[in-house]
Each structure stands twice: as C-alpha cells, then as structure tokens.
Amino acid sequence: MPRTRPNLLERQRRRLVVPFLLPALLLYALFMLYPAFTTFYVALTEWNGVSAPEWVGVDNFTRLTDDSLFSSTITNTIVFTVLGALVLFPGAMFFGYVTQRLPLGRLYRFLILAPVALSVTTAALLWKFLADPNFGAVQKVLRAVGLDSLASVELLGRPNTAMLMVVLATVWHGIGLWMMFFAAAAERVPAELKEAATLDGASSFQVFRHVVWPLMWEVTRTLLILWMIQGLQTFAFIIAMTNGGPLRATEVIGTYLYKVAFASSEFGYAAAIAVVLFAAILVLTLLSQRLTRRESEQY
C-alpha cells in the first residue's frame, strides 16, 4: 500500500497538467508568442497597415544600414545608456552600501526609493517642468548659487543638455531599486570577512575596496548588462520630456520605432527595427546568463 501512494499522487496530478497549463499558455501564445513571431515576417515586407503586406525580402534591413537617422538614434541610445550608467552605478552602489549600516539608513532608503512609486510619465513631467525656463525651479536654484550662465540655458531645449536632463530624470526615478540590488549584493558578503578587516585596522573605504568590492563585482557585471538591456529600450522619459527633440538629439531606438510605425505607418520598416533591437537584447541576455553561470560556479 505505501508503495502505490506516490504513484496515485503522481497520476492524480497528471490530470492537472492540461487544465492548469492551458489558460496561461493560450493567452501567452496569442498575445505574445504569435505577435513576436509575426514581427519577423512583417520585417520582410512593406506594409502600410491598410493594403496587403508586400514581400520585399531583406530590403528593410539594407535600408536600415543606409538610414542616417537610424544610426543617429543608435548613437543617442548608446549615449543615454553610458551616461546613465556613469550616474546610476556609482550612486546606487554608494547608497546601497552606505545605508545598510547608518542609523538613519531606513529613512534614507525610503526617500531614495520613493520616486520609484511614481509612474514614469509623472516623474518625467515633474522634471520637465522643474527645468522649464519660464517657471521652472531649477533655474531659480542655479541663479541662487551663482550659476547664472547655466540658468539661462533652456535645459530641455538644447541638444547637449536635453539628453543629460532625460538621463538625470530616469536615474532619479529608478535609482532606489538599483540601490536595493546593490544592498542585496553587499549583504551576501560574509560579515566575518568585514569584521576581520576592520579589526586589522582597515578604514571603511578600505573594507569596501578590498573586501566587499571584489565579491560584488560579479553581481555588478550582471547588473550592468541588465542596465544595458533597459537602456536599449528607453522610451517613456524621452516621449514625455522631449519627444525626441530638440533636433532629434534625444531620438532613441524606441521612440524612432514608435514614430516609424504609428506616425508614418511604415510597419514593415518598424518591424525590422524591432528585430534588430531584439537581436541586441538577445545577445546581452545570453552574455549575462553566461556570466551568472560562471559566478554560481565560483561560490
């Protein structure tokens, strides 16, 4: 009798497979898998959404290589991602490591995390209006601290400063979560190791540099790739703050794709951009998986 028990359970459970899997699988297949696969077909056609798609082979992709606008959106996307990483990573790392041990750490953490609760458009609009030359508060502050030349600049109206403002708003919005990623990573470092180093007279910076950082680097690598994947898809802050302007200085892959599809109705061309974007994300994802696998082998 005891022998048949697991079998009975197993047999009973097998009857669940179809009814339990089917709802999730059906919706997922219809609204994600099917459109995802169809994009690869659409990318090989010319299609305005009204008449039937016309097969053009790889024309859309060769057109992409000649499209100077597309290459400038790639450059802008890279600039966004790199600038963002330069601001985000040191900041998040510092906040994550430091707030762990400070007496007011939890309060700081809440305040740093709070913007995450805002919707992307709310956060973007907040910064757009803060930087507005007519009534923005940033200009007033800049004047007050004597940076008059900077205060007269239309921060979102100038190509060089617009991207920086978008980056700052994006980082401000998301830095709390990245702080938590780093805090979680820092917690993985054995406490005895840190104590031993402190007893040996290491300053807290030295502890970080020589004990925590080597162990955290593995996680940081993975997080960098995660940021790159997000950076490639940046969209909402650009749409809400600059809509790609001024002079297309903040046009990124996502906003370009959106306009090609839903403003110009060139759906085949938009699908081709989506395929290229997906390929880049796929490469980054595989890279991060390889890194994580190696990491788990080491520990």
Partner: protein, 302 residues
Amino acid sequence: MTTPTATPPAVVSAVPPAPAPPRRRPPFRGGRLLTHLALASYCLTSVSAFVWCAMVSLKTNPEFFSSSPWSLPEDPQWGNYADAWNGAQISRFFLNSLYVTVASVGVSLLFAVMAAYVLARVDFPGRSLVRLIFLSGLMMPAFLVIVPLYFLLNNLGLLGSLHGLVLVYIATQIPFSIYLLSSFFQSLPKELEEAACMDGASPTRTFFSVVLPQVSPAIASVALLNTLSIWNEFFFALVFLSDPEQQTIPVGILGLSVNAQYSANWVQLFAGLVITMIPMLVLFAFAQERIARGVSVGALKG
C-alpha cells in the same frame, strides 16, 4: 597635566579614570559626516521636487507665474484638486487604471500560479520545453510584439478598449510570474500534499486548499510587483488607447500636460500629478521592503 594622553606611560596606571582601551578603529570620523551630508543633500533635493509639485498644486494660475517657485501658496486652493479630479478627468483615468490593474494582475496571477505549480511539481513529457517557452518571454521586449499586436487587437475589435489592454497585460505578466513562482513551489515540502492525497482529496482541491495557502507570501510579492509595473505601464497603453475616455493614468496625464500648454491651466495639471502620486506612495510606504526584496530577487536571478 593637560590631557590624559599627555601623561608619561609610567604614571598611566596612577590616573584614576583610565582612558578607554585603544580601539583600533580609524580616527577619521569625517567620513561618516560626509556620508550623511551626501545622503541628506540628495534626499533633500529629491523631496523638494515633490514639495514643489505639491505647492504649485495649491496656487492659482496667476500666482504660479508671478510668485517664486519655492514660495508657499498665499491662499491654498484646495479647489484645484476637485477641478483636476472632475474637470480634468483624473477620476476617469483613475478608474481605468484601477480596472486594468486589478483585472490583469488577478487573472494573470491565477493562471500563472496554476501553470507554475504544474511545471514545478508534475513530471510530464515536454515539461522542459513548455518551461523554456514561458521563460523565453522574459527577454521579449514590448517593441518586438507591438506591430502585430496592434493589428491583432484591431482585428478582434479590441483596439482602444480597456478589455483588450487587460488581455495584453495578462499575457505580459505571465512569464515573470511563472518564473518567480515556480522556484517557490520547488522549495516547498511535498509531505502535506501527499497527506491530503492519502485523505482522498482531489488534486484540484489539494491545490487550492493545501498548496495555495503555503505559497501565499510568494503570491503577495508577485502581486505587488505586477501591480506596480501595470499601474505604471506606459508603452502599450500609449499605443492602444487613443480615446481620452479610455486612457489610464500614465497616458492620460501626458495628454493633460499637452493640453496645459494651450489652456495654461497649470495648477490643475499639478493637482492631477499629486493625485496620481498618492496611491503608489502609500502602497510603497507599507510594502517597501517586500517590493524591493522581490525586485532584487527577480533581477539578480534573471
């Protein structure tokens, strides 16, 4: 004898209040002060953005342009909030967001829990393939599906409707939810299920009354994360919802900001912004740790 440290070593023992044993910790305490200074100034800047927004929302339009951005409103205009809620249709956006979030998070969670359970517990042919199919959704960007999805919804007559958006949201949440939940199911002991089976409970009953209660903390975490991401979802909502009557908060508020440039009714817009901030800030205040932990588990494993 000025200070205890200045006494020669020979008489140290004679000094009654012996100085604390020399701790070998770095004497430089300025580091900590600097840390506090850096954190406090960042937080202050961050909070002042909120404060500015709240103060503008209580001014009048002329006052907004004439007064200093950091001045207090002369006579708080609480009417701006009623104006934004009713006149600017924030209430409509709010209800739309609420419906979309509750419906899609609820349904997708139910389906994902069921699928994750089967995938984690039952050994059936093709299991690893099905798992792979679901996990592949984790790296599909919204941009990859947007064009065909737009026409699919159009053909189904669901373009521009909240129901269509709910269906899309259910589908997009499924891969991540299954991914997180199946690891919880795998860590669960099997004895209770076996006991329930011995007692003659049907597998469905076992699932709902024995298994689900055990994973409810995990379900709560996933529900929170999904709520946060759906409440704030922007891209699909922007593409699929063109009628202001049907828009969710992230898209609706963007439309309001465009209108404000013509109507110059800025205070109403800012009151609207404040209203949209509140629910998630409250949720965050209560569930901050849980959300943050859930997100970092997801990110660091993925």
